[in-house]
Amino acid sequence: MLTVVCDLFRYNREFRIGALLTGFIVAFAALSFVSPYPPQDTFVVPPDVPPSLAYWFGTTSRGQDVFWQLTFAIRNTMLFGVSVAILSRLISIVIGMWSGYKGGFVDRVLMSINDTFIVIPLFPLLVLFYFVMRDKMSWPLLALAMACLGWSYDARLIRSVAMSLKSRDFTQQSVFSGMRTSEIVLQEHLPFVLPIVFYTTMNNMNWSIGLEVTLSVLGFTNIDTPTIGVMIYWANQHTAMVAGIWWWIFFPVLFVVILFIGLFLLAISMNEYIDPRSRLARMEGMRE
């Protein structure tokens, strides 16, 4: 496993760059555990100081150090993205594979539900959700809500893979070997589906982070916990751009862009490795 990662690092440029960028962000987020200031506190440092040796990224109008705020912000944003991605993957795998393997009536019902979820406009729904929840709104709740909305595209993708797998000879071989349906789906088919799932996970993370930033900038989330979007929200509240406090917006945006690019590059580079066909080609060397 380790040799594979090392090889990927050495030979695959996208993986190298993606891993470095993402690693950098993760390391940066880990710094939040050694932050001298608690994240919610305000006016702990002189406000509106431009980036300098004392305050590398400057300070905000609320008297917070942008550098340390950012460590919390990026950590929370990333955690949010990861949890949404994992939850929605679980839902899309279950629905996609069940629908693909069973076919018939089950497939029709599930796909009708799926298509309904695809056409639902997410953003107004989430805003509505906020207005309904108000004070009871919390990050886990928001993550759950987004996970329940973000599975539908990928469920269809997984379903088509499951359908094509069902028609292959080895599925019949498994049936005639006496395997139960659950065994076939989980043990025989899932390894083919996982690479696609990995790729969609990265995509999903990017999507959820983007949506979270959007909602937070508009103030539709819990604005006490620092995330990238919340930082930008507060910057807007204090009209930072007009007042010339550009560093308050610049650094969060920069870091979230780095995170996006890093995740994207990881996704496309890992895909080449995990793809069953290229993995097989590697396993058997070059059979002529």
Partner: protein, 379 residues
């Protein structure tokens, strides 16, 4: 202009004094006729259309830290004369497809030519195909050298009518205005007994056999000097296969081009080809006139291939060969067949036997059945 005569006639050369004299004698049921076959010393070099000298083509990959060298073609020398069908037989992963792809220079990295040369003789000039520029290559492709691929039924563009495919492939070579060009296409189709309505069809509207015949018509419309057909009938039904092969042979005889026909099916070789080369693990192990190779196989692999085939009317017990085809990344030392050979002796795992003439025109590479008597090196 009219269609070739009945298929029986196609086997004997239409014109007298042609170089395909040995092919004509094949029809005379005398497999070991003393007629000199196309041996190097008898034929003048200009009759040769293709000369391959000690060709080596390897796949070299370094993938995620694992480097591999697969010796797909390992020292093959052969020649093909004008108006001759040369058959290449062998199993999967013996290198025959790689060999023909290398011959037409249709290879890309990680497959590369390591040694050897491939020389064609078109219009009286010798051309080393690996020394040509891209422009020269494009001008000889299709006009002098055409290639019927494996699975080529799918080579026709599915969203264009057949007529468009002809225009795409052949128009630049047949330098004539469009109406004359189309008339020429139709007369060509007529010659191969395809109705001109086929031009208006889309590929998916035609059956597999029809598509293959269209592909053959496409490959022969410019009357090339050399045609390579790689498993042209493998996916077709038995009846259609015979039809397609008959068409292929008729048209080859008519335009007097040379052909390499690659297939694993010995029955096809027996019926269609003039000379036959057997490949095993990237090397030629036997080569000669088809009728000689099949009636008197000298190499143990060939003789197993031929005798193990069941035939209608034959109830004798047949046997399979022990072992498995070798891994080309780590082939056996010496003669690559020795782990499975019933006649293997000590010398077989030490050094690979050279391909030598046992009878003029019939070459074999085996220490046991073709030991070196004098230093007669073919090619």
């Amino acid at each position: 202009m009219s269609a070739a005569g009945p298929p029986q006639g196609a086997n004997s050369s239409p014109s007298g004094g042609s170089e395909a004299a040995p092919a004509a004698s094949v029809g005379a049921h005398q497999p070991s006729a003393a007629v000199p076959s196309s041996a190097a010393d008898v034929k003048p070099a200009t009759e040769r259309v293709l000369t391959v000298r000690d060709l080596r083509a390897y796949y070299r990959t370094k993938y995620f830290g694992v480097s591999r060298e697969v010796r797909a073609v390992d020292g093959v020398s052969l020649h093909v004369d004008r108006n001759e069908i040369y058959g290449l037989a062998g199993e999967s992963s013996c290198g025959k497809t790689t060999l023909v792809k290398t011959i037409v220079r249709a290879i890309r990295p990680p497959l590369g030519v390591v040694d050897g040369s491939v020389t064609f003789n078109f219009a009286g000039r010798d051309r080393d195909i690996y020394a040509l520029t891209q422009n020269e290559l494009e001008s000889i492709r299709w006009r002098h050298l055409s290639y019927i691929l494996q699975g080529s039924m799918n080579v026709l563009n599915p969203v264009r009518r057949v007529r468009q495919s002809f225009v795409d492939f052949a128009y630049r070579h047949i330098q004539q205005p469009m109406p004359e060009f189309l008339a020429q296409i139709e007369s060509h189709l007529d010659r191969v007994r395809l109705a001109p309505t086929v031009l208006d069809a889309y590929p998916h509207e035609l059956s597999g056999g029809m598509r293959q015949r269209v592909t053959i018509a496409l490959a022969t419309v410019c009357r090339p000097d050399f045609i390579i057909a790689d498993e042209p009938t493998t996916a077709l039904d038995v009846v259609v296969q015979k039809d397609v092969l008959t068409m292929l042979r008729e048209i080859q005889r008519e335009i007097r081009s040379s052909m390499i026909l690659v297939t694993h099916d010995i029955g096809v070789h027996a019926n269609v080809t003039d000379r036959l080369g057997i490949m095993y693990a990237g090397r030629l192990v036997e080569e000669g006139r088809t009728v000689d190779v099949i009636r008197n196989p000298r190499h143990p692999y060939t003789s197993h291939l031929v005798t193990s085939l069941p035939r209608i009317g034959d109830v004798t017990q047949k046997r399979g060969l022990e072992g498995t085809p070798p891994n080309l990344a780590a082939p056996p030392t010496g003669c690559r067949f020795h782990p499975r050979c019933p006649l293997a002796i000590a010398a077989c795992c030490v050094e690979a036997p050279p391909l030598i003439d046992v009878v003029p025109g019939h070459r074999v590479a085996c220490w046991v059945t073709a030991p070196l008597k004098e230093p007669v090196i073919a090619q």
